[in-house]
Every structure is written in C-alpha cells, then in structure tokens.
C-alpha cells in the first residue's frame, strides 16, 4: 500500500503531532488520570510523608510592546527578497501598502484586526501594541526552563521567569487552608 511516489511527508512525526492535537479535546481528563496515578504512587512509596501537593499559580498580564516603524518593516521585506531586483521589490512593497491602506482585499474577520494594526503602522498612527502571551505557551516555557540544566535552583527559576513576564500575582502554598469548605463558592 505504501507508495513512495505519493508523497514525501515526514509521516511518523506528523501523525504523532496530529494524535497529540486530537487528544487536546480531552486534555483535562487525561491530566486527571496522570495526577491520580502519581498521587497513588507517591502515597504507596511513603505513606507517612504523603502531603497535599502545592499548586503554584502564575498570572500573566497584557504587556505593551513598541511597534517597529513601517520603514523597519520595509527593511525586513527587502532583506528577505535579496534575490529580486529593486524594482520588483518596490512593486511588492507598494502593492502591500496600497492593499492594506485601501482595504482592497476581502479577508476573513479574524484577519481584519491584524490588517487594522498594520494600517496604523503604515500611517504611523500608533507606536505601541498591547499583547498577551498565551497561557499554554508560558506554561510550556516554564517546563522547558525547568528541564534545562542550571545552577539556579528551581524556585529561583520560577521567580525569575515570573519577574520577566510581569507576573501579576505569584500565589502559592494554598495548603494552609484549615477547612475543606469553600470560602467563596456559591454552591447550588
């Protein structure tokens, strides 16, 4: 069945990624299973030292970034098109500029916001942009940082990263609660 002429895909890697994507739909429940497994394992290993796990919460705020000028954007485009003649590059940049400014293109709604921002960049109307990092990207970066060999202890890695990302609140050690009853929940 395998037809070498059909495609040159990096098949196994792609399939693995796709499998990972599909399981995102039930990620919460897979995480539950994993945590339960480790909880049972830890208790079995040392029942007397078994304590409540500490859960750290990192909150990441939006941040204002400087927007590069349109001239800088043009320089990047020129650098990327070094193989082309200057006249062609100029035509590409002019077309891009006129399409964005003139609303001359029909695009899906989710692209329009990006185009609005680009229009402001071209006109020089705005110098900054407010963006927020994706929580899962931040979490992945934390795990990545944690896995790297470092002289700094883990706690410091977390604190440093938290500082870098202008963390709003570094809330930890919630195991000081004395009651199991919720403090603020409005239960049914």
């Amino acid at each position: 069945m395998l037809d070498v002429n059909k495609t040159t895909l990096q098949a196994p890697g792609s399939l693995l990624k796709f499998h990972g994507w599909v399981t995102i739909f039930v990620a919460h429940f897979l995480a539950k299973r994993t945590l339960e497994y480790h909880s049972a394992l830890l208790f079995r290993a040392s029942p007397n030292d078994f304590a409540k796990p500490e859960i750290k919460i990192l909150a990441v705020d939006s941040e204002e970034y400087d927007l590069p000028s349109w001239d800088k954007f043009k320089r990047v485009i020129r650098d990327a098109l070094t193989g082309l003649e200057e006249e062609v590059v100029k035509q590409i940049i002019d077309t891009l500029e006129s399409k964005i400014i003139g609303n001359d293109i029909s695009v899906p709604k989710e692209v329009q916001k990006g185009l609005r921002t680009m229009k402001q960049v071209i006109k020089g109307d705005t110098k900054t942009i407010t963006l927020r990092m994706h929580c899962e990207a931040v979490f992945a970066a934390l795990l990545e940082a944690r896995g790297r060999p470092t002289d700094i202890d883990t706690e410091n890695v977390f604190k440093t990263l938290a500082e870098i990302w202008k963390v709003l609140g570094f809330v930890s050690r919630y195991n000081t609660f004395h009651s199991y009853f919720p403090r603020t929940w409005k239960a049914i």
Partner: protein
C-alpha cells in the same frame, strides 16, 4: 448521600458560579485539586468513588473550554472527515486491499476502553440510537452497513462488542481487521455525542444567566443535569482517545501518516464545517453570532492552540 459527599464537600459540588478567571476563583480551584489529589492518594478504598465525583467537578469547571475547542472549525473539520470516511467507501477499500497489520497484545488504555464499553454497552447503544435519529439518512444507512447492523434498527457493533468482552479477559486484542469499521463508527459517534452533550451544557448555561441575575431552581437543575448527562459521553471519548486502538486506527486510516494531509481540516472549508457543526448540533442552538447562512459569516470562533498545532503539522508535512 455517600460518605465521600459528607466528608469532602469542596470538590463534590457542581457550582454554577465557578469562575477561574479571578485570582480568588483560581486559587479556590487550585485548592480543590490539591485536596482531591491528597484524599485520592491516601484513601485507597474510596478512590473510585472520589474519582467519579471529581470527574463531574472537572467537567463543570472545564466544559466551556472543551466546548470552545469542539466548535472550532478545526475540530468540526476533523469530525466532518470522520463522517466523510463513513459515507464514502475509502475505509472498506483499505481493509480489502491492505495487508492489515495489528498489534499482538493489548496496548495501554485498551482494556480500560473495553471495560468501559462492556459495562456501559446498553446505555451507550441507547445514546447512539438516539443520536442517529437526527443524522441524515445517508449517514444512518452507511453506519448500519459498516457495522453489519440490520438497516433501520439500532446499531449493534457486534464485532467490537465481542472483541471488547475478550479484551477484558485479556484473551484477544481490541483492534483487528474485524473491528476497524466498528471502531471508526464508534469514534465518529463518540465525538458527536460529546459535542452534543457540551452543546447542551452551553444552552443550559445560557438559560441560567437569562433571568436578570436570578437563578431559577428549575433552570439550575437543568444545568446540573446537563453536566451529569455529559459524563458518559465525555468518559467514552476519553477512553477512545487514550486507547492504543485509537493510535492504531489513526495509523491505519492515514496509511501510516502518508495520507494525513487528506484528513487535516482546511481553512478554505471553514464555512462548510460550521454548517456541519450546526446541523450536527455541536454548536449549541442558543448560539451567539450570525448563523452560517448569513451573507458575511461571523461565527463565535475560538482560534486557540489547535491552529498552531495544525500549522506545525503542515510544516512537518
């Protein structure tokens, strides 16, 4: 009332006002998870009971995120592809033409799936039957044909049922040439049932907040029931997706990944997927945006991490 309900009320409560977007709400949630893991670890005799309760709690806490993933065009595109493989003849052809290779032993998650299916078979088949009623005749008839069920009657999944019973006793593998078609149909139906169940919770939640801030007892009860009703569907999907049989099936369906590109959702077909999602009731009936038939579509759409992953897959291709 069970002992666990009296003893550990925090994570056994389905709250209508759970809000993890605030610092305090998130802290409470973290505390609940921490309490649960501690109690789960140290009370071996009650693990099953606690786990069931926490599943409902987790569903109540995360249904909104799950639903936003399900109604994304990427997810709807994938479910659409599952359905298209049923209405087309590609799967049957692959089984006939290919040398089917399967694992000789049960893989991780297979026995859990077999056990769940066997234990809940009557309930699952009744749910399948109920969902099938709203499917187009073409899909219904193909489902009957592929699962060797008499046309017009309840789908039986006899091949998969037999394999599941044997797999429970460790006497046979779950994913074989005989069970491929049943497995594919069950995979499609598990996505459909989970999507429908999440859509129902969304509808119930919208009604919950539609009474000037006052929560009417009957509406609250409907919301709670919608969450509890979703449990079996979501559990089934979890079992399906975490089984080794699913990995084997993806491998078979995509020809070892070589034809993966053909089943990847395509942005160009977004409109088609959204109409499909509405027709299959995955997008809740109380939806919050212009309908798919509007001239300029503007769906409530979640552009989440699925986009990024898809791009990576295409890049890898």
């Amino acid at each position: 009332m069970s002992r666990s309900l009296l003893y550990h009320p925090r994570y056994l409560i389905v709250s209508t006002s759970m809000d993890v977007s605030t610092h305090e709400g998130l802290a409470n949630h973290a505390e609940s998870v921490s309490c649960y893991l501690h109690e789960y670890g140290r009370n071996q005799a009650f693990r099953s009971e606690y786990s069931k309760s926490f599943f409902i709690y987790l569903l109540a806490a995360s249904w909104s995120k799950l639903h936003s993933r399900f109604r994304s065009w990427q997810a709807l595109g994938f479910i659409r592809q599952l359905e298209l493989s049923i209405t087309g003849s590609s799967l049957e052809k692959m089984i006939t033409e290919d040398e089917f290779q399967y694992e000789l032993e049960l893989g991780p998650g297979d026995r859990t799936l077999a056990d769940f299916f066997s234990r809940n078979k009557i309930f699952l088949l009744a749910m399948v039957d109920s969902h099938c009623k709203s499917l187009p005749d073409e899909v219904k008839s193909r489902l009957s044909h592929l699962t060797h069920s008499p046309s017009g009657s309840t789908l039986t999944f006899n091949e998969f049922s037999k394999a599941a019973e044997l797999a429970r006793k460790n006497e046979a593998v779950l994913y074989t040439k005989d069970t491929v078609l049943d497995f594919h149909c069950l995979l499609y139906l598990s996505f459909l049932m989970a999507g429908n169940a999440l859509g129902d919770i969304k509808d119930a939640h919208l009604r919950l907040n539609n009474h000037n801030g006052k929560k009417k007892p009957d509406v609250v009860e409907t919301y709670k029931l919608a969450i509890k009703a979703a449990e079996v569907s979501i559990r089934f999907l979890v079992c399906m997706l975490s089984s080794s049989a699913f990995k084997s099936h993806m491998n078979f369906w995509t020809d070892g990944g070589l034809s993966l590109r053909h089943i990847l959702p395509s942005f160009d077909r977004k409109r088609e997927y959204m109409i499909f999602g509405k027709d299959r009731k995955i997008i809740g009936s109380s939806k919050m945006g212009p309908g798919p038939t509007d001239a300029s579509p503007s769906y409530e759409n979640s552009e989440d991490d699925t986009t990024e992953v898809r791009e990576k897959i295409i890049e890898a291709c």
